[in-house]
Amino acid sequence: MSAEAAVAGAGGGKGYLAERGWRSWAFTLDHKRIGVMYLCTTIAFFLLGGVFALLLRLELLSPQARYFSNHTYNVFFTLHGAMMIFLFIIPAIPSGLGNFFIPLHLGARDVAFPRLNLASFWIFAAGFLVILGSLVAPMDTGWTFYTPYSAKTKAAVTTLSLGVFLIGMSSILTGLNFIVTIHKMRAPGMTWHRMPLFLWSMYATSIIQVVATPVVGVTFLLLAAERVLGVGFFDPAKGGDPVLFQHFFWFYSHPVVYVMILPAMGIISEVIPVFSRKPIFGYKAIAYSSLAIAFLGFLVWAHHMFTSGMSPLANAIFSFMTFFVAVPTAVKVFNWIATLYKGSITFESPMLYSLTFIFLFIIGGLTGPFLGALATNVQLHDTYFVVAHFHYTMMGGTVMGFFAGLHYWFPKMTGRMLNEKVARVAWALVFLGFNVTFFTMFIVGVRGMPRRYAEYLPKFHTENVVSTIGSAIMAAGILVMVWNFVQGLRNGAKAGANPWRSLTLEWRAASPPETENFHEIPQVDDWPYGYGTRGTGKEGR
């Protein structure tokens, strides 16, 4: 420990976890503790959302309703979607890992507004409590809340949308906090182009959160006004338009898919060079493509609505724009692969999950043009093809990136190492199970099976059985992973300050870091990707 302690300058300081008692958590202003609270909450909702997914798959073993009524099935897919989106995948990386690592990456002692940060967490907590409160009359609208159905159903739509409103408010405040933090709190010498790419992706993410989230907040207020006060924004009988809701909804919910994927891309950009022992290839291309994605992501929302009766011209424009989101995304993938070239690659669990991210995200990405092209979209829209596509990007992408980040930073967050052998078993099960579950959905989607079907025609039976088997394999993998985390926390070998020999600043702090991260604010005089044994790693940036 002594050598690393010297590096960390962390002689007698205590780790951030030293203080005990609930007050030390509930009132903490430490970005690391707030990050840990977010992580624990979001992981709990990931597991709960996963249980709903398994129940859906269980029901789909049989073409006819067997275990649950149609209504119960509809509630399950709504809760699966709403929890995974609003309570797991949007907050998990930005608010969880982002809170923990943005200040450490910057060489800062905390975020710009620590009290606001704590307020964000408690608003988030209020939001998920309200969402759990809506379970008295559980939502059955799908996570998309489409009117007029959502305006008519007896389920607790108003309560749930109030919960999402609060979650959104928390998301805006966190985004604002991060933008200011990245602008104002970089360590001396850390120019924009010396920032780790995780920060670039978090910066782009935060911009989307601040700009797009208010729209969904307003949309849910309009929906509440429709349900409670009878105002007819979306009711054609009162002069409203149900399709307007879809425009409002996707104006937020499309950009927000980049809130989900960009942070994961940031993690991949950190892990790949460390485990290839090579500088990242095309730093600026990766950094600016994040901003390009954030910008273009605002101009494509109506590609979710090609069959909603929009004019063919409007459809053509949105299809055209959609294809151009593909370009900066492809640029990132090419740069990651080029980073591997002539590297010295090792396959510890963070790298395994990062390579899995690239592998699965390529499939998710290449199935995008089928949905972006108008002719094929009309055929595939609202079928299982779409379900497969977004699970490949969101679970194969974001969740694998999240897993990569959890394995990469576990030693830093807890001061302990994970058991690599167990981590590999979990990885293998997740990888196998994921592909069996979701690749099958491409096939059944092309064959015409619509999504959100509690019952289906017997001709789709085989694919559904295979998919359910896959989901069980994946669930086993995730259980092994959780078990490994618990074992690592209790019995893991002590981690040094920098077990992966990484050059970003968080590894100069102790594992786990002290309360204010650094004894002395580090001085930065180079970018953090100077790996490579030949050359200086500076040319051509």
Partner: protein, 313 residues
């Protein structure tokens, strides 16, 4: 395997959609092999050979020509895909002259079909082969999605609007219609079919309807046929497990508890009223979602269904 790409396309236009699908598959397949091939090849080829000792690695940080190429090439490729997808789509959206028109209204949970000459049907659209058909879609309650997988088309049916969709069926046969916009408990049961008939047969059917010549059929038998045809069984079970609406078995003559706390004996008049004005007396514990059959069923047909229900003991 029905309805897999390029198999079972039921019209020339559907074949063009499949061609776009094949084009994207070929281009995507090429980039799949290229990127996954390099990913796996680099990962294996450049793995660390000696445990604990890094390979010597060059400090390559980028290449402007490569960055330029891998922005340019994907941009061109996506433009091609966009253009082709848009052209085929534009043709799909432009109805041909002389199309047969059919009005279709989605309601929870059935499709009501109206022909301009006054014929009506439920969950079944009959059209002649070889002639364009234009569907004029709307919905009475929430948004539904009208999806003809064999024709590679779908369009949302939206309350307060008329949306359109056209196809030109080439081959006689029965093609499924699914609802693709989630619309509640009966969403996955909102199945209907498009029946493409030879022109002669169609003309014959259009003159008399398929009820012609069946007026002297015994009422319960006719009722059974109508119940099967009109989509009643999407929501009502006649044996076994409960569906969305009340089970019809043994209803006749029973005491039915109502939502307002009263109860009613299910006699012939109650059954008739429940068909033509379903909201009049709501059975306790069931949602008031059944659409009225007032316009789509003739009095004789209602009588036949009532008689059939008497036989469900």
């Amino acid at each position: 395997m029905d309805n897999v790409l390029a198999f079972g396309a039921a019209s020339a236009e559907a074949g063009k959609v499949d061609a776009v699908f094949v084009l994207i598959t070929v281009i995507g397949g090429f980039f799949f092999l290229l990127t996954q091939g390099l990913l796996i090849f680099f990962a294996v080829r450049y793995r660390r050979r000696t445990p604990g000792v890094d390979n010597e690695t060059p400090a390559i940080t980028g290449n402007h020509l490569l960055e330029f190429l891998w922005i340019l090439i994907p941009s061109v490729v996506v433009l091609v895909i966009f253009y082709y997808g848009w052209r085929v789509y534009a043709d799909m959206r432009t109805p041909r002259a002389g199309a047969t028109e059919v009005y279709v209204t989605g309601s929870q949970w059935m499709w009501e079909v109206k022909y301009p000459d006054g014929r009506t049907a439920i969950n079944e659209v009959r059209v002649p082969r070889g002639k364009p058909v234009k569907f004029l879609l709307t919905a009475s309650d929430v948004i539904h999605g009208f999806y003809l997988p064999d024709f590679r088309v779908k369009m949302d049916a939206i309350p307060g609007r008329l949306t359109t969709l056209w196809v030109q069926p080439d081959r006689p046969g029965k093609y499924p219609i699914y609802c693709t916009v989630y619309c509640g408990d009966g969403h996955s049961n909102m199945n209907a079919q498009l029946v493409v008939m030879d022109p002669d047969e169609y003309a014959e059917w259009a003159r008399g309807g398929d009820e012609k010549g069946k007026e002297d059929e015994p009422l319960p038998k006719r009722g059974e046929r109508l119940v099967n045809k009109a989509g009643c069984l999407n929501c009502h079970a006649i044996s076994g497990k409960e569906k969305i609406g009340p089970n019809l078995q043994g209803v006749f003559g029973s005491k039915v508890p109502l939502e307002d706390g009263k109860s009613v004996t299910a006699d012939e008049e109650y059954l008739r009223e429940s068909l033509v004005d379903p909201g009049a007396k709501i059975v306790k514990g069931y949602p008031n979602v059944m659409p009225t059959y007032k316009t789509s069923m003739k009095p004789g047909e209602v009588q036949a269904i009532v008689e059939y229900m008497k036989t469900l003991k």
